[in-house]
Amino acid sequence: GRWSQAAAQQALTEDGLLDFQSTGNVTILHVTDLHAQLVPVYFREPSINLGVGAVAGLPPHVSGADFLKLYNIEPGTPEAYAMTSEDYVALAKSYGKMGGLDRIATIVKRVRAERGDSVLLLDGGDTWQGSYTSLQTKGQDMVDAMNMLQPDAMTGHWEFTYGTERVQEIIEGLPFAFLGGNIFDSEWNEPAFEAYKMFEKGGAKIAVLGQAFPYTPIANPRWMFPEWSFGIREEEVAKNVAAARAEGADIVVLLSHNGFDVDRALAARVPGIDIVLAGHTHDALPEPVIVGQTLVIASGSHGKFLTRLDLDVQDGKLKSYRHRLIPVFSDVITPDADMTKLIEGIRAPHMAELSRELATAESLLYRRGNFNGTFDDLICDALLEVREADIALSPGFRWGTSVLPGQKITVEDVHNACSMTYPSAYRSNMSGKMLKDILEDVADNLFNKDPYYQQGGDMVRVGGMGYTINPNGDMGSRISQMTMLKTGEAVDPSKDYVVAGWASINEATEGPPIWDVVEDYLKNNPVVNLQENRSVKVV
């Protein structure tokens, strides 16, 4: 209630959140995976985030109560609310929404005022996609807002789903660098983007290398940007680190969209990287993970957090550092007036549509987690009913905001969960064998023991069918017990099933956009009550 909200927030102040005993001569600010969230959001962190092989049980593969214990965080505190799924609904009511680019602007301005021109603001990508307004403006809303924030460099992933032409058009107009040392022209095998940029801050030379999402042409439609080839390209990273050092870099920072486990492996394999600013896997960690001499830093997603990292750089070495993952409590941090005005201007023409109410949530709708996610269950239910299918498939994206019990589900909420440039809800026949092959393929992309073979999403969500998964199994043997939920019958490898899904990476996929399917479904189902999905068994 209101009293507990006031009590909870009493302990939180802007000064308290931004309190930082500054150190050294350089400050790095890192935001990543904003997914086009201009205004504050609810975003529930995962309750399950399995790691396999060498990283099992290591951050970021720690969630819920284990996370609180590992980092010594009291349950019920602002930190517990921001970084875990524990007691989420109650705490959300106490602490309110997080993020908002105008709040982030306030933090950036305050740090710049304090640290002068020794600040580097770096954006890890997945910035231009994920909302209704970003889709309507082909990313221009985020480009305008980020330009006001004045980052020094960015890299990308979902940016590329606007297609080659649009990406090139935006980049030509950017007043800062778009870096991607792992992006090559697919015809002549030549670097297609700037690999790194040297910055002079606080008397030190800082090389920032950009690493775009290596599997963009596999996880997203390659046909939208056929001119570019990606990949981890460890040898290119090593080459660019060496080149930056030869050019006099005192420290090397990798602005990465590899995903955390890939970054941890890369940091161990490529010498000479002082700091990895990790992205893509949306992890929020209150401390750096230290790999040899390298700090790996995870700054969360959706504008919930901003990392401040003060560095003492002397004589070509990182002597010391101080780190803080700043949680962006939107009710506590004063919005920056200029940014608020810009955001209001961007949203004004779309406000009627954004706030249009489609239904009421009686239970929490969220997405993050390896298997479950009630927002995806809603999407799967919509696909099953509206597309008259036996089985529904919904991608294991990690972006998308949460809706609290009692809230209206608006067009904005639905778009936050499915806004994209390839939204067609297909309907096709697939054999039981083909379905198993798909599940096995996705499971291997998630749970391959070698992180270089992982793509960093979550498991494809399935409606109408349950299954058992052994994440530690080998390729082709992780999935078993595929069962039709309606009849309890085993899925027959040789039988064809009607499957509805969306976000196919294949060109010319036909079907209505997924948000229309969800809206149609909500017309007939105006109250949504979805409990945790228990049809996937993990063994």
Binding site: A219, T281, L393, G396, Y453
Partner: protein, 135 residues
């Protein structure tokens, strides 16, 4: 989610034994050693129809320290043979890049034959995936 992939009709695939035999023929009885040659390939293919691969052999390419040829084979294709590069004193360095077809997830193997008869090998697993999804 991943949509259906079309792989066409069933094919007979080369097996590891056929690949090993091909390597033994090329090596002329020598057992390939590790080292000297580096094979670079993506961990996951963006498109199984066109997978970039590069080889580089540590060799002066003069005064007898020469690479004669590098053979590329693939364990999981209908036939193991892919391509064989022949180098000369005018090559300057023993490195080459091409793009190849991989029918499924498999090991790609590069074998270098030196002028002195010694043979070196490197191997890399390339995953061919249905794709889709993402974070």
């Amino acid at each position: 989610a991943a949509a259906a992939s079309t792989t066409g009709g069933r094919l007979a695939f080369a097996d590891v034994a056929a690949t090993d035999k091909r390597i033994a023929d090329f090596a002329g009885g020598k057992t390939p050693e590790a080292g000297k040659i580096t094979l670079t390939a993506p961990e996951i293919a963006e498109n199984g129809n066109t997978v970039p691969i590069s080889i580089d052999v540590d060799s002066a390419m003069k005064d007898g320290d020469m690479v004669e040829a590098v053979m590329i084979v693939a364990e999981g294709n209908p036939n193991p043979e892919v391509v064989t590069f022949h180098f000369t004193a005018l090559s300057g360095s023993a490195s080459a890049t091409t793009r190849i077809r991989l029918a499924k997830t498999q090991n790609v193997i590069a074998v270098a034959k030196m002028a002195d008869g010694s043979v070196y090998m490197d191997k890399k697993e390339v995953k061919v995936t249905i794709g889709g999804c993402g974070g």
